[in-house]
Point group: C2
Chain length 188, copies 2
Amino acid sequence: MGRWEPDARGRLTKAALELYSERGYEQTTVAEIARRAGLTERTFFRHYADKREVLFVGASSMEELFVQAVAGAPESAAPIDAIAAGLEAVSKVFAGRHEHSRQRQAVIAANAELQERELIKLASISAALADTLRRRGVAEPAASLTAEVGVAVFKVGFERWITASEERELSQLMRESLDELKAVTASS
Amino acid sequence: MGRWEPDARGRLTKAALELYSERGYEQTTVAEIARRAGLTERTFFRHYADKREVLFVGASSMEELFVQAVAGAPESAAPIDAIAAGLEAVSKVFAGRHEHSRQRQAVIAANAELQERELIKLASISAALADTLRRRGVAEPAASLTAEVGVAVFKVGFERWITASEERELSQLMRESLDELKAVTASS
């Protein structure tokens, strides 16, 4: 793996986000990211396949964490409560990452290709959650609908966390968003 | 607009879907679509900008119809009931289009680029619905969450309609899916 660079990955991630924010994602090259991080391009490619991966490297592990928490919820838990457990587990990953997440979101919002990639990420999470709920014995269409609700709450709760004027607990915002969703869908 | 071809658009649409189904979307050319329809490429381009547009030409009018029905719901209607009115209005567009919709869905499911486009279409509808609800005086995050619920019900209801062994009323499936979503999110 070449010589050891102290926290090379963290430095590359930070440099990439800074440059994407300053110049735009399109305009930034891997060479510039490496230079800003005080590392070589070769080191960059030991950590990331390309400049887009810097922004999406956590997607598959986040999906896995979400799915595992839903799968691991007590057998007696209602589907929506299993989803709530998943949201709780996923929220923990973002502890201490508010500024990083805020920057990342702004970069994505400014680029159509990245927005598409983000939509694909969320659709993949939804499909994985529906599959997990079916394995828990939840029938269709309840499984797909509950999974979609989970992703909707994740999206909206995350957006609120990012844009909140002062930092709040992500897990708290997820719970509030789920409660709000329950309130808006409550039959009158 | 050149000489009049009886139902040129309908013939082109049908020919395109047939070819996408038989050979795959990637492998089909505009020349082949025109030939199958008994028309010229020039006529194709009078109706569609490219071969992808055949599959997405209805997207913006569908979004508009959805939005207008939500905007036009009685002032006293709860946000979720305004969304239900939107689902009802959109369902009507698909009357007599079951086979077309089934074919279209299969073509999209087989192609990653088309799936992305479909996700963008749904995200655009969600954003437009949230905007419409905010104009109706619905606060955030309720507006975004209700809009996401609307799109989730649309997706799942539509999927059920497409895959149902016998043809059922789309509006009925939308209502059932919304009721099911209300049931899964009902607090225990």
